[in-house]
Symmetry: C2
DNA sequence: CCAATATTTGCATCCCTGTTGCACTTAGCG
DNA sequence: CGCTAAGTGCAACAGGGATGCAAATATTGG
């Protein structure tokens, strides 16, 4: 995929097969993936430390962002323009308790929350658990 | 502390020193604590597995609830009446990036979030990171 | 108050994730 | 094509979660 190579180049990253494959997997997959899931999907073709460092590099460069759910840490590609110093994600994450997938819901903006006096908000992280449309039999 | 003993009895739990001490620590502390922090506070007087099982028991009984932040899992006492099957926490959690403490903000209700069609919400988890009043020099 | 028993604990052990150091390999450049 | 900085694999460690099992103990009924 040329797109993947371009993304790497744009972020001053050398084009290696591990980086290509990890980014391709995250791009194709619309659910957020954990380190372990990515490792499995790569069929052990790379050392897990390399995958770990690849994910860290991508987060630092603003190519992917972390997604926190009850089971731990996952990763998803940034749809907005992000950089390492500034990830701006005001979208929410939805975890389906039936299929287990965690997804970014991009088109919903988190309403502003009025904090008590003295609190200064920097980053908001909203996770909603429930049932996704595909698993919802009520339609 | 009699209060602690009462709480244990009310939930049909045997009164053991590990349970007493863990619950006392969580009650006195207003910040959410991790397994490791509790272990340290107990000065290694109990096996980590015992503490682990104690926390699990408390969560199952609705005495404490999990608090998810970037660093992992923490625990805080439930202020509302909760049971194992039904933890109802509509409050938000605030993590101060200066002092590192994570707290429950009880008196703010999370505004309802309009999900796209087909999504069914069961539980909402809101974490705001920022600076707490004690660390905020702007007052 | 004591004995019986169901519960709880500590220990051993396993698995998974994250992290670092170091030597070897390789991508990208001139 | 060869140099060099960057990336990789391997070994090793730390932390947390989880389970099985035998020893210890809280509770209860006598
Ligand atoms: Mn996202
Ligand atoms: Mn809370
Ligand atoms: Zn689903
Ligand atoms: Zn603070």
């Amino acid at each position: 995929m040329t797109k993947v190579k371009d993304t790497l180049r744009e972020h001053d990253l050398r084009n290696t097969s591990c980086r290509e494959d990890v980014l391709a997997i995250l791009t194709q997959n619309n659910a957020a993936l954990s380190h372990g899931e990515i490792e499995r999907e790569l069929d052990n073709r790379f050392d897990r430390v390399t995958i770990y460092r690849t994910l860290k590099t991508f987060v630092d460069k603003g190519i992917i962002h972390k997604v926190l759910d009850e089971e731990g840490l996952r990763y998803a590609v940034c749809k907005d323009q992000c950089s390492g110093s500034r990830h701006h994600h005001d979208h929410l994450h939805f975890k389906c308790t039936v299929c287990g997938l965690t997804n970014c819901i991009e088109n919903i903006t988190i309403p502003p929350i009025q904090l008590p006096a003295g609190y200064k908000s920097i980053e908001t992280n909203l996770l909603i658990q429930g049932v996704c449309p595909l698993c919802n039999s009520d339609n």
